[in-house]
Symmetry: C2
Subunit: 553 residues, 2 copies
């Protein structure tokens, strides 16, 4: 028998407070509802009933933004709805912040601030914005199932049918994970849709998971954030890309990878059908991609390099091309992309061999950050992709190739490559003795500095000067020398002697173009398989339709 | 214009081979189909048509097992279907291996072998089984979206409706992620259901994602693998649990956590309402759980310690209790659990502060493994839960409490605790100079030794002797001394001098019960809030209904 003294700690409470609250909130808006539907011009009042002060409210926003709902939230009466705890992947819109200035919201947990990063810094300084934490995307998704479960989520889809089933189509992104965390914790799921239709092209979210649907005043906002015009790729970037292919991807046999957004990695993609093919690497590297459908990948796909692409989100203009290439992309029965940020980040953490991305600053020890003075930008997915997965247990040639010691308990690691030029526009050095992030973190009262990729996780740095093989360093001191050896004439670069650099090159811990047999004279734009958006369209047989801003024809 | 020479690399191929193959396979079974349905006694022939030699075939199996489909697969003609590449989370059934002996399958990628681990070792040795790799669960899920995308998946659900929508109910587990990877890559989704019904309690998977449904000959197999009977908890385990609460959870302020399956962590759960309450820790530790609905958590829930539980899978007997406690568990509109292994593992990697689990061996450097001679068991979820998440960027008091140095770039880490007794049953030492895994890995031709938790990730070890604070070590040598200090009279334990141990205790790098103020005399079974299954039933107000094997009344 249980001792009576133990039983005395049993408490008496309702165990259905979230469910009861949901029922009462939903009852409060019944006069607005026709089935699950609320008229477009009536949404503000119901939001004031559905959302209670202090609630955790998740707003959907990365590429796809529930902008009608966030604009509507900005119109609620702060006397009725206040002190909200906002959870948002990307602070992408002015209204995401105006709700703080108006007293509707108080605290925020987020992953990326992008264009709003300057204002975020200012609002933190003013005490208007209380930051819970800055996350990597998938980490914020994870917390939805643990200690940041939303009371209400405001998300978006392309279509709903009359039963409330949703079609998210190519831009599925975070919608399934946000809704799952909310719906299965008796939270309230509010969805804006572009259109209510009789029959969906496919069902992405079952209607039973959805509480309220409203047709938006205009289609949800979208950003083609991954598109890079080949015309802007420089010859220095081409040189760096050649070194990446010959000095990293080939010797490490990188078959599964992610590329961040940037011109240098776009150059790598565009060099595969030319330079990569000359080196005889087709079928040996760059086969399985974790990547949004970036147009600069088209020539590599069309020349048979690519076996598969799984995507975080969609990229505008790629719809028809994707539909015609279902062997490569993950698509639904309707032919359009099924993206999914959580699964894609998961694959980017655990399945791939290599992450290659750019950054704004690198310090002497190889730590990197995109946070610079006055801007708290967040990192999106980079820390997840750009870190070694200590839980990984499967091997691949690339993963094993990083082992530099003997011993019974050795293991491989993910290749994490940071690609930069030694100086940014305006002659600002990329390599710095200490990251701005350290000061920014102190000023904003963050408990640790907002570092994007830690030096301990960074295996390679590529600059126009050469490749730094950081994973080969046998001490922190040597790691610093290896970083300096590719840092050009920055103060960090000047801290290592030419003799020492030559020794590191002999040891294979640093490689300059001539060490790799990369001919600087070959690094011409003519080596790119596509040099313009028009070239990409031609490669795609006219299926890729660039957004207007990328067209000059 | 694109240079003509570049365009010459454009290849001409079909880009719809997977879709075409799917259409042709589905057409081949049309005579068996009534809508999406195939009669129970006709499934073997269609499987022979749907599955082609060399296919990647995913079998669902952890707690919930698509056993009707795996038994049916074992009946296909190896002359027709052979050389399959099987992907399975857990090798849980004899038929998972007989298909290799019969020549139907050739290669396997898996995460856990459990009761089949001995036979797995034998089949590898005989060359019958070719192992792709041994994974952690979530890592294998990740590869489904990258380089291990199934051609066909064989999964299970409780019910299907006439439109093919699925109800997975409490045992959702891996079904959504397996189906998503297969359905959106033009693979074929085959589902066994316990029953076909007119109306589902809720829709877990939309019918549009499903190709073939068959009613199984009997309900899918289930294992209550997480249930531990309190009657089997020993006083040594209680002593260890007291040290974990007072020496780890309290000082580190562990609020978000996962417990592995084991009696020592069950003891921690059962001590919260008694010992934990005496220490005044209620509301301060152990609030948000990533855990299957383990019955030993009931007293902590009933006494108000627990705010939330998200689960990998279900646990038999807990259905009515879960339904009555929706504030705590993630449940659907029908009141039953919504588990989801991928999301739960994700939260276990990125959201929690602490993983506590047991193991079979620990080496002198703190590496651990459950692989022992003659058995390749795999690790399930442990490597993912039991590793530091280098991509994590949010702070918590627990995470920050592990920082032991100054400097601008420091960061916290996850607490990874391994709980063991210094000797196992039969006087076999748990602490060993070198893990058996090293030899097993060599014998099986694995590229690296199958280590479960690496010493570099393990922050604490708890034994009946005391707590080792490995994260405080300032060198590998010191880490070895700290491990030895809690290793009792094993050869590892005897390698450190008593003087050195006393110094480590003074430095706070090791703590014995008396250092923590834990009274050995208090470590009695009477301190457990429940000492039997009957006690757990009483705590649950009769809602918990233990499976027959756990009942003696």
């Amino acid at each position: 028998m249980v001792q009576q003294s133990h039983f005395s700690s049993k408490i008496h409470r309702s165990w259905t407070t979230r469910l009861d609250s949901k029922k009462s909130r939903m009852a409060g808006i019944s006069s607005y509802m026709n089935g699950k539907f609320i008229p477009t011009d009536k949404i503000v009042d119901p939001l004031q009933t559905l959302i209670l002060p202090g609630d955790k409210v998740m707003l959907e926003s990365v590429q796809k933004q529930a902008d009608f709902l966030s604009r509507s939230l900005a119109q609620v009466d702060p006397k009725i709805v206040h002190d909200l705890h906002i959870i948002v992947m990307a602070i992408g819109r002015p209204d995401h912040l105006s709700i703080f200035e108006d007293g509707i919201a108080k605290k925020i947990d987020f992953s990326f601030a992008g264009p709003q990063s300057h204002r975020v810094s200012q609002l933190i300084e003013k005490g208007v914005l209380e930051v819970g934490a800055i996350h990597t995307y998938v980490e914020l998704s994870a917390r939805l199932f643990c200690d940041l479960t939303p009371n209400v989520c405001l998300v978006c889809a392309e279509y709903a049918d009359r039963d409330g089933n949703l079609y998210t189509g190519a831009n599925t992104e975070d919608t399934p994970s946000i809704i799952e965390a909310t719906a299965f914790s008796n939270g309230i799921v509010v969805v804006q849709v572009n259109e209510i239709v009789d029959k969906l092209p496919r069902v992405d979210i079952p209607g039973g998971w959805v509480d309220v649907i409203v047709e938006a005043d205009r289609p949800f906002a979208m950003e083609p954030i991954q598109t890079r015009d080949p015309k802007d790729i420089t010859e220095l970037q081409i040189l760096t890309a050649m070194m990446i292919i010959k000095g990293i991807y080939a010797p490490h046999q990188v078959t599964k990878l992610n590329h961040g957004v940037g011109f240098s990695t776009a150059a790598v993609e565009l060099l595969l059908p030319t330079y990569g093919a000359q080196l005889g690497l087709k079928g040996k590297i760059c086969k399985n991609w974790i990547l949004n459908p970036q147009p600069t990948l088209i020539p590599a796909i069309e020349s048979g390099w690519v076996e598969s692409v799984h995507s975080f989100g969609n990229e505008d203009g790629m719809q028809e091309y994707i539909k015609a290439r279902p062997d490569i992309f993950f698509t639904g029965a309707d032919g359009s992309l099924r993206s999914n940020r959580v699964f894609c980040q998961l694959a980017g953490h655990y399945a791939i061999d290599c992450f290659s991305g750019s950054t704004l600053q690198i310090d002497a020890e190889g730590n990197t950050s995109t946070v610079t003075i006055g801007r708290i930008a967040g990192f999106g997915g980079a820390p997840n992709l750009g870190s070694d997965a200590h839980g990984r247990r499967h091997s691949s040639p690339a993963w094993l190739s990083t082992i530099t010691s003997d011993g019974p308990n050795v293991h491989g690691r993910k290749l994490v490559l940071q690609v930069v030029e030694t100086f940014k526009a305006g002659g600002v050095p990329t390599f710095v003795p200490q990251l701005d992030a350290v000061q920014v973190g102190k000023d904003a009262g963050l408990p640790v500095a907002p570092i994007m990729v830690y030096g301990e996780d960074c295996t390679h740095i590529a600059t126009e000067q050469g490749i730094a093989y950081l994973y080969k360093s046998d001490s922190l001191e040597e790691r610093k020398e290896i970083v300096a050896a590719v840092a050009g004439v920055t103060s960090v670069g000047l801290s290592v002697s030419r003799n020492r650099v030559n020794e590191l090159r002999r040891l294979g811990k640093v490689a300059y173009p001539e060490d790799l047999g990369v001919n600087r004279g070959e690094a011409k734009r003519s080596l790119l398989s596509a040099r313009s958006m028009k070239d990409l369209v031609a490669w795609s047989d006219g299926l890729y339709q660039p957004p207007a801003r990328f067209r000059n024809w």
